[in-house]
Structure formats: C-alpha cells, structure tokens
C-alpha cells in the first residue's frame, strides 16, 4: 500500500511524462505463427482466432465457465417451444468506422456467413447438415433480431459463440470491398485493425469509442476495455526464443507456455505466470477395431495401468489435475459421477492383460512434439504400460501426419490432444459415432449415439446431467479412450504488465490489460504465481 502511494505521489508530482511514454509503447504479445487471414471464421486457425477476436464480437460469447452469455445482445429470449431466439441489441455500440450497430448489420453479417461463397467454416453447423438448422432470421425493429430454428436444440447459443466460428462476429458492410471480397474487419471489438506485416507482426489500435460492458472480465464477454493504445502480435515461432524475449523485456506476454518454460519462468522475477485449466482434453485414444486393442479387457488393462496423477504432474509441471471424464473439470456439468474413474492398480492391470489373451504383440502409440504435454504423456504412459507387460512403441509424427491418421482411424493408440469443446454434448459427439461413415470416431455404439443425440436436443438441465452421468459410466466400461486430464492454459506476462490472465479457451486476451511503469528498484517483488483450481 505504501508503495502504491509512493507511485501515485511520484506521478502526481510531474513524472507523468515518463509514465505516458511507458503507456505509449505497444503491448507486445507472442504468436507462434503468422495469422492466416483477418476474416473471422473463414481462413483461420486458433492463432488467427486469438488475433481476430480482439476486433470482432458476436451477439453472445463464452463466459469464464464456458457457457454462452450476451455480448452485443443485451439479452436473449427463447420461446417456450425452443424454436425462436430473440436477441435484443445493446444500445450505443459503435463499429470501428463510427457507425451504430443495428439489426440490419446483424442480418447483413448473417447472410454473408450463410452464403457458401464466403466459405464460413461453420456454415454446415447451421444449415441443417450439423446439429442446427436456422430456417429464418428477421429484424422486427432496429434493435432486435429473431432467429427461427427447425428443431429445438441445447446448442444453438454455444454454436454461435464458438471461437473457431469467429464468434459469428457482427461486421459492418465496410469490411468487404465493392466486389464482395473481404478487406479488413470493421467490427465492434475493443481494438481496431492497424497493420499486418506478413511473417512479422499484426498491429491493432485502441478503439476509443468501444462500448464496454460494466463489471468484471468474464471469458470473452464482461469488461473488455482497451487500456493500451497499441498491441502488437509478434510472430516468434521458437518457444525458447520467445521465453528469452519475455525475460529480456522484448516481449510482454507469451500466451502459451510449454512445460519447460513453466519450470523456468515460475521462479523468475521477470515474469508472472497465469495458469488455469482449459477445456481441451488430453487422453490415450485407442482404435476399437484394432485386432489387439479391439479387446475390451485389454483396454481396461491399459486404463488400470496408468497412474494419472503421475502423468499429469509430469505433463503439466504439477499445474493440471487428473480428469477421467470427457466432461471438462471447468464445466458446470462436471459432478460427482464424472469424478468416478478406473483406479490405478498395476496388479489388476497385469491380471487383466493375462485374462485378455494378449500374446506380446507390439502396440504402436503415435505422438507429436507439436503439443509438448501430449508428447510427455506418451513418454510417461509408455513406461507405465511396459511395467504391466504391454509391449508399447512410440512413433513420433509431425502433427499433420498424426491428424491424418486420426481422421482415417489408421492407428492403434495415440496420445491425442483435443481442442476445447464448450459443451459436454460436443465432447461426446467428438468421440461417439459410426466408424463406417466417420473413421475418426472412437466409440461406435448405437445406444451411446442415441444418448448423445438426445443430450443435444433437451435443454432441461437435470435431464442433461442424467444423460451425461449415464454416458460417463458407459465410457468407463467400454474404455474407447483413457481420458487423462484437461489441458492447461498457461501464459507468462512480463513484470510490467498489469491484469493479464489466461482464458479457458486458451486464446490470449489483451483487453483490461495495461502496462505499469516498472516498479522502483527498492520494491521487493517476489515471484508471483496465480493458480486457480
């Protein structure tokens, strides 16, 4: 407190020039690769989403607990039959070009997304080929928009909020050129587009007229004030270089640390870590059609052979927690039943191996170095499986190859990192399905499929919970996969950065983040490390 007073009095006494110089310097954040485009939800990857979502916003967005909440909408009214969603727009929201947000802009944006020529990656999720079919969108007045659906679904708002869909971001029509091609995002986000130097950086500028929501930061909604004049996403592909940049002050924020960076930076005064669990899933997936692993007894043996706390400690530097269910620990649907798991019991595992009739066949586990936590998982679990008598070899593939093997189902076992699914239905939908038509599916069981389909339609919470509980118990019995832990989002911010926190989507957020002048040298600033459970 005394220190803060000192800073305040120094500022008041005229050292403002130095302070404002510090504020004027751009906030520099590392991205591991260049972005693919500026077009939300079209030509994108996670990295691109992380940049673009600073400029565009949707009607609804994920909160910290991964549930969709209003953002550009003031509120959302759902009709009793679940077929009609009415979005009331917030007043006073402006686009980057100064125009006011109206329902006409929402209609224009939606129609652009639904035009196949736009190549919106989520088109098939809303045109009836996926879980949702939007039959019409109308604007009864300038401040409201009504979406009508063909069938009720529990997932409509979740789908609209998806970060990989660009949050279905509302754009002004100035975003496209006269010929209809995309130019740059003119959105409502806290930052507006500045410059993009390919292969080097993307610069975004503060949007002074941003209409901020009151309250606290909440996932991708809540308070989102831009507190710095300029942010720069620097392309730094090598994590070791980026780490050096954080320590030298050349980079302010490194949003995604691997485990070696966490060990090094957690004791370093020059950086603060922010580590939270995210919605990603890391597990050992097994091909149930494999001659060896098709045997459910053997798959149970695999599950019993894995010491999850040990793996999680090794793969996440002690920051993660084991989770035996595909329902993420963060999810409000993760309850007591989801905590049930197959216990680590090497003796039992050995007995199961013997009972399964396993005759020493080699089992190949695929892994990639692209995602260090899943790679470490592979190395550690291999030793555990060997300890119970399974002959497991690791084959290290580059990510595109591993993903291809996953999509084709041509593998025995993989240490696989799934990106976050924001609803348990989507987690189950990812793994359950008919292998004949979709070889990437893990769990081919019509009964399970019916339960998953049902969970997408019912919106009553207790009923959904009951479905997820039943699914989890069947999951433990069939073991199509040994679920290990949820990914962690761990970012590091330089000591001068104030207010940075990792998000459950694992994408960086630069709103509500500022840069303070460096504390006086006398200030004993110990290592800080915030870990939310």
């Amino acid at each position: 407190m005394r220190n803060r007073l000192t800073i305040a009095s120094v500022l008041a006494s005229g050292a403002l020039a130095a302070w404002s110089a510090a504020v004027a310097a751009p906030l520099r954040i590392q991205v591991p690769a260049d972005i693919r485009s500026l077009d939300p939800g079209v030509n994108r990857d996670n990295n691109t989403d992380g940049v673009v979502l600073h400029m565009v916003e949707g009607l609804v967005a994920y909160g910290e607990d991964a549930t969709p909440k209003p953002l550009l909408a003031e509120r959302v009214d759902v009709s009793p039959d679940g077929l009609s969603y009415t979005f009331r727009l917030r007043r006073g929201v402006k686009f980057h070009n100064g125009a006011d947000l109206t329902s006409a802009d929402v209609l224009w944006s939606w129609n652009r997304y639904m035009d196949p020529r736009t190549d919106w990656r989520c088109l098939s999720d809303f045109d009836g080929r996926g879980s949702v079919k939007v039959t019409s969108v109308t604007a009864p007045d300038a401040a409201s928009v009504v979406f009508s659906l063909e069938k009720p679904t529990a997932l409509f708002l979740t789908a609209l909020s998806r970060t990989d869909c660009g949050m279905t971001g509302i754009l002004h029509r100035d975003s496209v050129r006269a010929d209809g091609s995309f130019d740059r995002p003119v959105g409502t986000g806290p930052f507006k587009f500045g410059a993009w130097k390919r292969g080097e950086f993307v610069r975004l500028d503060r949007f002074a007229d941003y209409a901020a929501l009151p309250g606290k930061r909440d996932g991708y909604t809540g308070a989102k004030r831009p507190l710095v004049d300029e942010v720069r996403f620097l392309v730094v592909p090598d994590p070791a270089t980026a780490r050096t940049g954080v320590m030298s002050g050349a980079i302010d924020i490194m949003p995604d640390l691997d485990s070696s960076a966490m060990t090094e930076l957690k004791d370093d005064k020059r950086a603060d870590l922010s580590v939270i669990p995210n919605m990603g899933l890391v597990g050992l997936i097994m091909q149930t059609r494999d001659p060896v692993l098709g045997n459910v007894t053997l798959r149970r043996a695999v599950a019993a052979a894995i010491d999850k706390p040990e793996i999680v400690a090794a793969a996440t530097e002690g920051f993660g927690k084991p989770n035996g269910s595909v329902v993420p620990t963060l999810s409000s649907y993760h309850g007591k039943v989801q905590d049930e798991d197959i216990a680590y019991d090497p003796a039992a595992a050995r007995a199961l191996v013997a009972a399964s009739g396993y005759r020493g066949e080699t089992i190949v586990m695929l892994a990639t170095k692209r995602y260090p936590s899943s790679f470490n998982t592979a190395v550690v679990s291999q030793q555990m499986l060997r300890a119970v008598g399974l002959k497991v070899e690791i084959e290290v593939l580059e990510w595109a190859t591993q993903l291809d093997r996953y999509a084709k189902g041509t593998y025995q076992m993989q240490a696989f990192p799934y990106s976050g699914r924001m609803d348990p239905s989507l987690s189950y939908e990812t793994i359950a399905g008919p292998k004949d038509r979709q070889p990437r599916k893990l769990w081919d069981d019509p009964g399970v499929q019916a339960l998953v389909d049902r969970s997408m339609v019912v919106s009553e919470r207790a009923e959904r919970q009951a479905i997820f509980d039943a699914l989890h118990r069947r999951f433990l019995a069939d073991v199509p996969m040994v679920m290990l832990f949820n990914g962690i989002a761990s970012g590091a911010a330089g000591a001068e950065v104030r207010g940075y926190a990792s998000s459950p989507t694992a994408l960086p957020r630069l709103w509500e983040v500022s840069r303070a002048p460096a504390p006086p040298p006398a200030d004993p600033k110990g290592p800080t490390c915030s870990v939310s459970p």
């Binding site: 070696s260 090794a314 291999q382 084959e395 290290v396 580059e398």
Partner: protein, 277 residues
C-alpha cells in the same frame, strides 16, 4: 616435416585412434550394461545436476544422462555408419559413371542429381519417413539419399579434372578398357576427397539426426540417440546446461576422432603418397 627420419604413428592417427577406440568400447559396453536403466523415469530426480549418484546429471524425466549417452552411442554410430556407406557407395557409382562418360549421359544424370540436390533434406525426410515409418531405417534412407548427390558431384568433379591428366591418356593409349581405367586409375584418386567428404558426412548425419529431432521427426523416444538427446536438451539450456553439453561433446569428440583417423587413412591410401613417405 614431409620427410621425418623416425616415424612414430602420426599424431593424427594416434589421437583419432584413441577417440574412436574409446567410442567403440563405450558403444559396446553401452549395448550390454549401463549404470541405470536408460529408460527408467524418476520424477523425484528431474533435472538433477551432475552428482556422485548421477555422474552426468538427469534429464527432464529424471533419466540418467550417462546411461542414456552410453546406450545412445551404439544407435548413433550405427545410423551414421549406414547412412554414410549408403551415400558414398551410391554417390561414387553415379559420379564415376557420369564424370567418365561425359556427353549426354553426364547431362541426364546430372539433371537428376541436381534435382535431388535442390530438394531440401527436410522434405525428403518427411516424405520417406511417412512411407517407411518414423524409425531408424527411415532416417538412414532419407539422409543417405539426401547426401548421395553431393558425393556424386564431388566424384564427378574429380573425374573431370583427372581426365585431362597424362596418366589417364596413357592408360587409354595402352589399350586398357574404359572400365579398367576407371577402376584402376580414377577411383583411387577419388579416395582422398571422398575420405574428407565421408568423415564430414559422418558428422552431418549425427547432427542432421539432431535437427530432425528438433523439428519433431527424429528417432522416436525413449530410445536415446545423441542427436535426439541434444535436440531434447534445448528447452532446458538455461536451467540444465549439462543436458546439451554432454551429448554435444560426445558428437564433437567422435567427429574429431573420425576426422583425424580419416586423414591418417587417406595418407596411407592416396596413390601419390606411396613413395613420398
């Protein structure tokens, strides 16, 4: 210095011999016995500095570095030897053939050779590893193929410059067949540059394997090789320098040994050296 009266084995042969001898012994012992199980994980002793219990420290999984170095010696040497042999044999045949025939044969062969040379090793490795599988032999094939064109080009260059010499013309005048001339007179003259190239390549292979690991394509763990140990040590360079120093030093010393020994062997084999010593 060219005509010493009393000749001990030259210094380069001596140092090289000792280094390579040590390497072979370590690789032999490492294949049979190591102080600890090189694959055993121990999270209680992660990244331990060198100590009485772990002479060279432990890695990020708590595995003993000394044991891994010993076990890795055999794998690394095997990969390097096979790769270099593959590249030298294929490259020499291609280079000799192309350089001696000249004319359109040479042009066609060199067109293919240059095309292969222009291929970045990583793409070749990616393609072959995908087809053969990400294992030792995939790497040997990929690297061997990647180095073949350099060998071919060097051999061809030597042949081109030798063709103008009197003794080749003499051999032809004496009625020797082309093939005989090639093997008897030209091949021995390629030995010197090839020895240099092969010994350098030996080093490149150890390092290329490391670079492939760095890019996520090397010999899969847990099987240690010096290359993947060196690549894996990189994220810990600030916290545990020894992780990279020791495998790096092993690669350096092996290279030094093989280069010195290579020089000594070349001195013995080079036809023009017979008689001068």
């Amino acid at each position: 210095m060219r005509g010493r009266a009393v000749r001990l084995p030259p210094l380069n042969a001596l140092i090289g011999g000792v280094l390579i001898g040590t390497l072979l012994v370590v690789a032999g012992v490492g294949a049979l016995w190591t102080p600890y199980d090189p694959l055993r994980l121990s999270f209680r002793s992660k990244l331990a500095a060198p100590s009485a219990a772990f002479w060279l420290g432990t890695d990020e999984f708590g595995r003993d570095v000394l044991s891994r170095l010993m076990a890795g010696a055999a794998a690394s040497v095997w990969i390097a030897v096979l790769t270099v042999t593959l590249a030298v044999v294929v490259g020499t045949v291609v280079g000799l053939f192309s350089g001696y025939m000249r004319g359109w044969v040479d042009r066609v062969v060199m067109a293919f050779n240059d095309a292969l040379l222009a291929f970045p090793g990583i793409l070749l490795a990616l393609g072959l590893l995908a087809v053969v599988g990400a294992n030792k032999y995939g790497i040997i094939l990929a690297l061997g193929l990647a180095y073949t064109p350099s060998v071919a080009r060097i051999v061809r260059g030597t042949v081109l410059s030798l063709r103008e010499r009197e003794f080749i013309a003499a051999s032809r005048v004496m009625g020797n067949s082309e093939a005989f001339t090639m093997v008897r007179h030209i091949l021995p003259n390629c030995v010197a540059p090839l020895t240099v190239l092969a010994t350098s390549m030996f080093g490149y292979v150890l390092l290329a394997e490391s670079a492939l690991s760095f890019l996520g394509l090397g010999v899969p763990p847990p099987a240690p090789t010096w290359g993947n140990m060196l690549a894996g040590s990189r994220p810990y360079i600030g916290q545990a320098m020894w992780l990279g120093i020791f495998p790096g030093l092993c690669i350096s010393l092996t290279l030094l040994g093989i280069n010195l020994l290579g020089d000594a062997v070349r001195d013995k084999l080079d036809p023009r050296m017979r008689g001068t010593r």
